[in-house]
């Protein structure tokens, strides 16, 4: 398990900044690239996210989750907020959504993942194909529910149901995994 860096950032240790960028720069950048409409927009978003991170570093608590999930939570909040503001303008969309290829995400290796990541990867394996696809298109590719419906050819209401069902299952699965792990060191 990695030693957290954010408490050192919160104490104002300047060398912790470089370590933080080494450890989480790629995570934030890959998220921003996926959830931003252009590279220049992703670059602005990443700068805003790290400002948020420096300012909120002291809020990180080891007992509520891993540092990586704390960072990705802050990053996602900022990125979704930016998306929402951009959505005031008409959303650019492909004329034929079904013709666009969306590559499936590659999970990081078990060696690289923190505990939460390992657990969610195991839980994702238990989802049905259509549930996982809906999650990939929304979480990984940042598509709106309407575009997912266009893409998959299923009604909008069904898309909403699939996403919600998948996240509820993951939530329950992760809670169970977390409890088992705490009680007997069992890992999923």
């Amino acid at each position: 398990m990695q030693v957290p860096i954010l408490p050192r950032v919160a104490r104002g240790e300047t060398n912790a900044i470089d370590e933080c960028l080494d450890r989480y720069g790629g995570l934030v950048w890959s998220l921003a690239c996926r959830l931003s409409p252009s590279t220049s927009d992703a670059e602005d978003a990443v700068q805003e996210i790290f400002v948020d991170l420096w300012r909120n570093a002291s809020r990180f608590r080891e007992d509520t989750g891993t540092e990586a999930t704390f960072v990705s939570t802050l990053a996602r909040r900022r990125l979704i907020d930016r998306q929402r503001k951009l959505r005031r303008h008409p959303e650019p969309r492909s004329i034929d959504e079904t013709g666009v290829e969306y590559a499936a995400p590659q999970s990081s290796s078990q060696m690289e993942l923190a505990e939460d990541g390992v657990r969610v990867t195991a839980c994702l394996e238990k989802l049905r194909q259509n549930e996982r696809e809906a999650l990939e298109l929304s979480i990984y590719h940042g598509l709106t529910q309407t575009r997912i419906a266009d893409r998959t050819g299923v009604p909008l209401g069904t898309v909403k149901t699939l996403i919600r069902r998948a996240l509820t299952q993951l939530r329950n699965c992760m809670q169970v995994g977390s409890r088992l792990h705490a009680e007997g060191g069992v890992q999923l």
């Binding site: 900044i17 720069g25 420096w54 929402r84």
Partner: protein, 265 residues
């Protein structure tokens, strides 16, 4: 604590998921704010934790390292933030802290006060630096983006005489009368032969006489950030245009070579 038996539990979950994955509309946000106080606090974080874990598991962090120019800009901004935080935390002790300080740590107070004075002296002398000592434009741009509430941001598009591969954007704050152009792939110019010049078209100005936004050079085919040097007050910009002119720029452009345009919606 489970919320399954609570009224509005379904709607609450739906709003939480929409908020996390797609963002809420104004109406949904109002509904969310109304329901939030009625729901157990820990429930609101469970989905967020799940999505964050998926983001970590699916991240391409190894194959997509943070670009060098971006890392440099973020690092500069971080140093600024840490300095500000240090000043604030020394400057504004809480009541409890103050009591402890008064009772037993007087030498540390003196030391901290000396540090504050030193930092403030350095800070104020930096403010007195001559105007030609320009701080890193990338850093200044990042600061403008994070502080300006009225920020205009538009991408460059091809003008009538485009330069292949040139891209970037313009940010401008009307209230601060400050802005920056960002370019990548714009041809490096030879300043003794020709220079780039920015023109700002203002709704309160004839389009025949746009505001001169300054003459500048492109020194790299990597990202270049250039401060805008508007010669007049810009009230309501609707178009930014880059022309290629003779060294030193011109007062009125013939607009014969106009590679980039950025239109404000």
């Amino acid at each position: 604590m489970s919320i399954s038996g609570m009224p509005d539990a379904d709607r609450w979950e739906e709003l939480q998921i929409t908020r996390l994955l797609f963002g809420l509309s104004l109406e949904e946000q109002a509904e969310f704010d109304e329901l939030a106080p009625k729901m157990p606090a820990e429930q609101s974080e469970l989905f967020e934790q799940v999505v964050a874990s998926i983001d970590v598991a699916w991240s391409d962090s190894k194959s997509m390292p943070l670009p060098g120019h971006l890392r440099k800009a973020i690092r500069s901004r971080a140093m600024e933030e840490l300095t500000t935080q240090a000043l604030q935390s020394v400057d504004k002790p809480t009541v409890a802290n103050a009591a402890v300080v008064r009772s037993s740590k007087l030498p540390w107070v003196v030391a901290a006060a000396c540090m504050v004075i030193t930092v403030l002296t350095l800070f104020s002398s930096r403010q007195n630096e001559p105007a030609n000592v320009v701080r890193d434009a990338t850093q200044q741009r990042a600061k403008l983006i994070s502080t300006a509430k009225d920020l205009v941001q538009v991408n460059w598009n091809d003008g009538p005489t485009p330069i292949s591969g040139a891209e970037g954007d313009v940010v401008w704050s009307p209230s601060q009368q400050q802005g920056f152009m960002r370019f990548r792939g714009l041809t490096i110019n030879v300043p003794t032969m020709q220079q780039y010049q920015l023109w700002i078209f203002d709704k309160n100005q004839s389009d025949k006489t746009p505001i001169d936004g300054g003459v500048f050079n492109i020194t790299s085919d990597q990202e270049v950030v250039v401060p805008i040097q508007a010669k007049l007050r810009v009230q309501e910009a609707y178009l930014f245009a880059v022309t290629i002119e003779k060294p030193g720029g011109v007062v009125v452009s013939s607009r014969e070579r106009l590679p980039l345009l950025a239109t404000v919606n």
